[in-house]
Amino acid sequence: MKFYLKMAWRNIFRNRKRTFLTGLIIGIGLASIMFTDAIVVGMKENMINSVTSSFLGDAQIHLKGFQDSYDTDKTIKNRSQLVSRLQEDMAVENISERVVSFGTISSPSDINSILIYGIDPTRERHVSKIDEAIKQGNYFQTAESEGAQFSGVLIGSKLAERLEVSLGDRIVLSASHAQTGELAQNMFRVAGIYTMQIDEMDSSSAFIPISEAQDMLGLGSRVHEIAVSFVDVQYASRHGDKFADAYTSAGNKAEPWPQLVPQMKKMLDLTDFSVGITMIIVFAVIIFGIINTLFMSLYERIFEFGVLRAVGTRAASLRKLIVFEAASLAVYSSVIGLLLGALIIFIGSIHGMNLSGVEFAGATFTEEINTVFRLRQFILHPLLIFIFTVVVSLYPARYAGRMSITHALQKTL
């Protein structure tokens, strides 16, 4: 056994150039697969991140049915209790309470139907990225500095364009009062203009401090939405159900992002499927390359095998030798592949691909896409290559075991 391993290992280095070439093809193949994996992970994380961290949060809690109608009266039950539970939850990093209402925004030149969000300025910035998305003005500071005579509102760049307003301009928000349904109107000044690259956010949403929203809508301390961010970014996709179960009670409904934006989840599933097929094809090409190389190198050495068989080596031992050779080749190639793969993933993790501004399933790539290291890239993929190579080598091994010795011995050149 050990002897054949030694022999196999020496064999693959007999023709260094060829072995290196084969190692290179398998290596590049492996590196490609690793890279594809890494970039897909990066893309997915970016997508999820752009959905969850731009405004959604990793999960949200509402009163059941709130999202169907955005009825102002449908506020979260047992709010304070829920908030303290969330704050004690180890998985939860930050929470942000919000008031959400349909309403209209009017400027001297136009008027638009929008969703008015009341947000807690300090807590919100830990959950979402509105503060970072602000391109002009400031994130809820103007209002305070001007003595709170009027309030600041953050609006999207597309909405600002449509309303023909710029920083500091007056706008009036109208919405209906909770319970009475009466018209509530307040004047605000544009404190900040943001660009989130999400059409809905940029063209039909406005943000005001939650206390003002609650005053305006007569909600007291009630809220419509609690957005949650988790310590572990993958918590929502992995243990989302757990979270949903834990906080869906008393008429409230907790949903992690895959439930909140199912189309995103579906898109990711589709991506997984496509990547899977791509991987299979790449694997197929690589494996074919391996078979090819194995066969070629074995054919060249048929005489040698003839000698081995003639002097009394059993067919099984020869088969073993060939499989070992393939395995050695796989190990050698994997090392090349791992080094190459690590290198390109490393490069990719520093120099990202720029797809920013591209909207995708309601989300937008906000940043460059970087490759992401995952352990499986360095374990699963090489292991698959190794297994495939060994499995594939069974065929030439069988062939060599069965060949006619006299025929083999005739081969000279």
Partner: protein
Amino acid sequence: MKFQLNHYGLVLFILLVGVSPLLAQSGTTDQQPEIERVVNAIDRLYRHDSSHTLMEMEIHTPHWSRTLKLEAWSEGMDKTFIRILQPQKERGMGTLRIDNEMWNYLPKTNKVMKIPPSMMMSSWMGSDFKNNDLVKEFTFTENYTFEYMRPDEAKKGLLYLKCTPKPGEPIVWGHVVVAVDSETLIPKWEKYYDEHNDLMRIMYFKDVETFDGRQLPSVMELVPQTKEGHKTVLHYIEAEFDIQIDERIFSLRNLRTFRK
């Protein structure tokens, strides 16, 4: 597609609520009168306890022009009732406003439809007025600060006031310039500007006539400056003020009972 949304203000409210008598004392001539008195006069022009008016509303757009004949009742600041008398197609349609709530009556379907707050900014019956204009009330005295000004194109015999909304008022305008006849203190026009000094719309007051013993402009013309070809003109045909109005007028029941 969106509803054709228009500009809004206090004009329709003012008109529908009626025109109150001007306590015009012809006295000081050369001297500018005390500013509070002028503003008060403008505000008071539209103040009264109740009104009952008959008017025509001409609506012009690039696509069509039409005229509605309206009968309106108002009481105090919170109650308004409007009935469309003409044209035939819309005859019987009505709008009731009580406080901040508003309903439309549709005779063909015999249905009363409440206007949700999200539709408050929509046009009232296709005019340049908005539903909201019937609901919200503002006065220059209470909601604005004001000062005299002298524009470049100032004409003799007119007083000019620059009215700026008080901070925090839910008013979109940057300021409003009002031109008032220095004798009668009846407004000539009001120009609405945004904060960048762009003119957004003009309201003209024309053809002063006597209604119920009071002198009032009988024509008001609203011309949005941002939409070409749009104009809404209101003609007063008849008006009576400070009369006793049956409380039942301002009810949903009345809204939905109209005999053609």
